[in-house]
């Protein structure tokens, strides 16, 4: 059983943060909210999302599992204005999702969850450095790096106590330093890893400019990017594997 009413904005934010990595996903319809976990086919980027029942206008579910084509569902959600409400109801018999937006009814065929890539186990990483900054600073870093290169280095100088972003291109360089004062919080530790901008640009699209973003970093280790949306009632954790410079 699944029946819920949610604002178009909240639903769209949730779907967008998953669709940057995968085309299809499984959605767990838990009693206390929705959960989505997915990894891209290359096993490089992972998303772990939860949207609490409190983020919905109304929410009833009893632990079902559905498989959806994300771009289809995004297209439908895109029919609503951001303030409008979207009503979702699962028909258990036909395995279809009934979607209503102000009189517009759409019946979405679901995908057999077994045919969707297996959900990833979330690696248990020991990441020594943690940086908390505004979404707009993440956006600034990624946008500037993209002008000169296809990859970006994120690191923490543990002696001088600042977080930095480096991008080296064929001819031009980008460098950004953010100290304790510029950041919301900084937990210093040895960290320097290189990441593909292709992935980071996509993840960046899903990060609201005013969100508080936590980056957990290590040396040639994946980065964990954590932020909230829907007034803190939705949480996204991305994990991105580094480009290895040493082997």
């Amino acid at each position: 059983m699944f029946k819920a009413i949610v604002s178009a904005e909240t639903l769209t934010s949730a779907l967008d943060s998953v669709s940057v990595l995968v085309d299809e996903c499984k959605i767990h319809l838990e009693e206390d909210g929705l959960e989505i976990r997915a990894v891209d086919p290359a096993n490089v980027g992972m998303v772990d999302l939860s949207l609490d029942a409190a983020a919905f206008e109304s929410y009833e579910a009893d632990g079902g599992l559905i498989g959806v084509d994300l771009s289809r569902l995004e297209d439908i959600a895109g029919m609503a204005d951001s303030g409008q409400l979207i009503q979702l109801e699962l028909d258990e018999e036909t395995r279809k999702l009934h979607i209503q937006i102000d009189g517009l009814e759409y019946t979405l065929a679901l995908i057999d969850p077994d045919s969707i890539r297996q959900e990833p186990d979330i690696p248990d990483l020991d990441l020594p450095a943690e940086v908390v900054l505004e979404g707009s600073d993440v956006n600034r870093s990624v946008t500037a790096a993209d002008m000169v290169s296809d990859h970006i280095a994120l690191g923490v100088d543990d002696a001088a106590e600042y977080f930095y972003v480096d991008a080296e291109g064929d001819t031009d360089d980008v460098h950004l330093e953010l100290t304790q004062e510029d950041l919301i919080d900084l937990q210093v530790g040895p960290a320097h890893s290189l990441f593909s901008l292709d992935y980071l640009k996509d993840m960046n699209k899903a990060i609201p400019a005013d969100a508080e973003v936590t980056l957990a970093l290590g040396e040639e280790f994946p980065v964990k990017i954590y932020f909230g949306f829907a007034e803190g009632q939705g949480q996204v954790t991305y994990m991105l594997a580094p480009r290895i410079q040493s082997d």
Partner: protein, 433 residues
């Protein structure tokens, strides 16, 4: 073999000297053209080339969609027509730049303009070239799908424009040209069964038909010609395709097919370096364990064809893709990217493995005239014959190879996505429970 021994064992390119001589003697081209003129006069009867034969076609792209389409014929050397076809045999026979230019100056391009999709008035309602087998376009299509040179007669409107158009990064150079009035078959062309099958199937997407032909043993050169003639794909989609575009389209399509075949295969076990040298182009291919990733980096020496000023710096270009391929067109390295990628994928598919792959192409000033992208394809294909050098890690291999390159390791790392860092996957960081 250890990589340092492997590098030491590589023989200096003995062809290089001969090519340098050829370069100084490029007046030889003028001789080829004079020879052609003589043969041409002998072959002409009135304004018609009789007893001619055509092994291949050329489809231009100027003024698209009203493009020049041409029949290529070796005037006066009909018995050897097969040898005028650009394909892997040129590499096997050790053709130098001069040999290529000689072949191409001996090949007359008799051309006529046609629309890519509606060459006859009758087909205006359904603009597609699929049932056009009459007239000049029809003859040209017959030649393209035949598996051997086709005898024909070509009526010319004027005398040939002698000369040689330099090749490009993709297309082979072109020789003399004449405007054709008409062409007639003098025999029933021999068309292989699989080609008939793709021709007759009206509901088969071009990509699928191309890979079908590839799997049936047709090389990309044959498929390229068939695609150019608009002889595969869903019937209402069939168009004449400029040669340059179809070369890249076939390399890309077959490459995607092969990439799909190795997607779930194991990675290779060790870091390998393969090298080859041909026509003033040197190739280093570094393969490393892990999931598919590919990059081509080109280094063009000052004084070589695309970087003509001898005072200039080495010119670097690169393009790369990850496990799932590219979502955008390659801006740098163009056709060479798809040709090199195809060659590497063929090797990986033959051993049933995937790998991370960096191809380094060094173009020296010995490469004085571009001969077309077949040179890249065949050089990389043949690099996998023989031995390779082993290295401990990918970055060890690249830094060692960099000592042989005209640019240092650091500059390479700035330009090359793979040299900067190899994409790892998340499972490498998962702790066993």
């Amino acid at each position: 073999m250890r990589l340092d021994d492997y590098i030491e064992d590589l023989e200096p390119d003995e062809e290089a000297k001969r090519r340098r001589l050829a370069k100084e003697k490029s007046y030889a081209i003028t001789d080829h053209l004079e020879e052609f003129e003589q043969r041409f006069d002998d072959a002409l009867s009135g304004d018609t080339l009789v007893g001619s034969t055509s092994p291949s076609i050329f489809v231009g792209r100027s003024n698209y969609p009203d493009i020049p389409i041409g029949l290529l014929s070796p005037v006066g050397d009909e018995d050897a027509a097969d040898e005028y076809v650009t394909d892997g045999a040129w590499y096997q026979q050790g053709y130098g730049i001069d040999d290529v230019l000689q072949r191409r100056t001996g090949l007359l391009n008799s051309s006529k303009r046609a629309n890519v999709d509606s060459p006859s008035i009758a087909s205006r309602l359904t603009p597609s070239v699929h049932d056009t087998w009459d007239g000049f376009v029809g003859v040209q299509r017959e030649v393209a799908i035949a598996d051997r040179p086709v005898d024909l007669e070509i009526g010319l409107d004027d005398t040939p424009d002698l000369g040689l158009d330099a090749g490009t990064d993709v297309a082979t150079p072109r020789g003399p040209r004449a405007n054709a009035r008409n062409a007639e078959l003098r025999e029933n062309p021999s068309v292989p069964k699989p080609v008939k099958k793709t021709l007759e199937d009206d509901d088969w997407q071009a990509q699928g038909a191309m890979t079908y032909l590839y799997r049936r043993g047709f090389d990309v050169y044959d498929i390229n010609s068939i695609l150019s003639a608009g002889a595969l794909g869903e019937t209402d989609q069939r168009r004449l395709v400029p040669t340059r575009w179809s070369i890249t389209a076939v390399d890309d399509t077959v490459g995607q097919f092969l990439r799909g075949r190795i997607r779930n295969e194991r990675g290779i076990d060790e870091v390998q370096v393969w090298a080859n040298e041909y026509m003033g182009n040197r190739y280093w291919i570094v393969l490393a364990p892990g999931s598919w990733e590919f990059e081509l980096v080109e280094m063009k020496a000052p004084g070589s064809i695309w970087n003509p000023n001898p005072e200039d710096d080495i010119w670097l270009q690169s393009a790369s893709e990850g496990y799932e391929g590219r979502s955008s067109y390659v801006e740098e390295t163009a056709g060479a990217y798809y040709a090199a990628r195809l060659a590497v994928l063929e090797h990986l598919e033959s051993i049933g493995r995937q790998a991370k792959c960096l191809v380094l192409r060094e173009v020296s000033d010995d490469y004085w005239a571009p001969v077309g992208v077949w040179q890249v394809r065949e050089s990389v294909r043949n690099a996998f014959d023989g031995e390779y050098g082993e290295a401990e890690t990918f970055h060890d291999a690249v830094s060692q190879v960099a000592t042989q390159l005209p640019v240092g390791y650091q500059r390479l790392q700035r330009k090359s996505e793979l040299a900067a860092g190899l994409q790892s996957s998340l499972d490498a960081f998962s702790q066993p429970p």
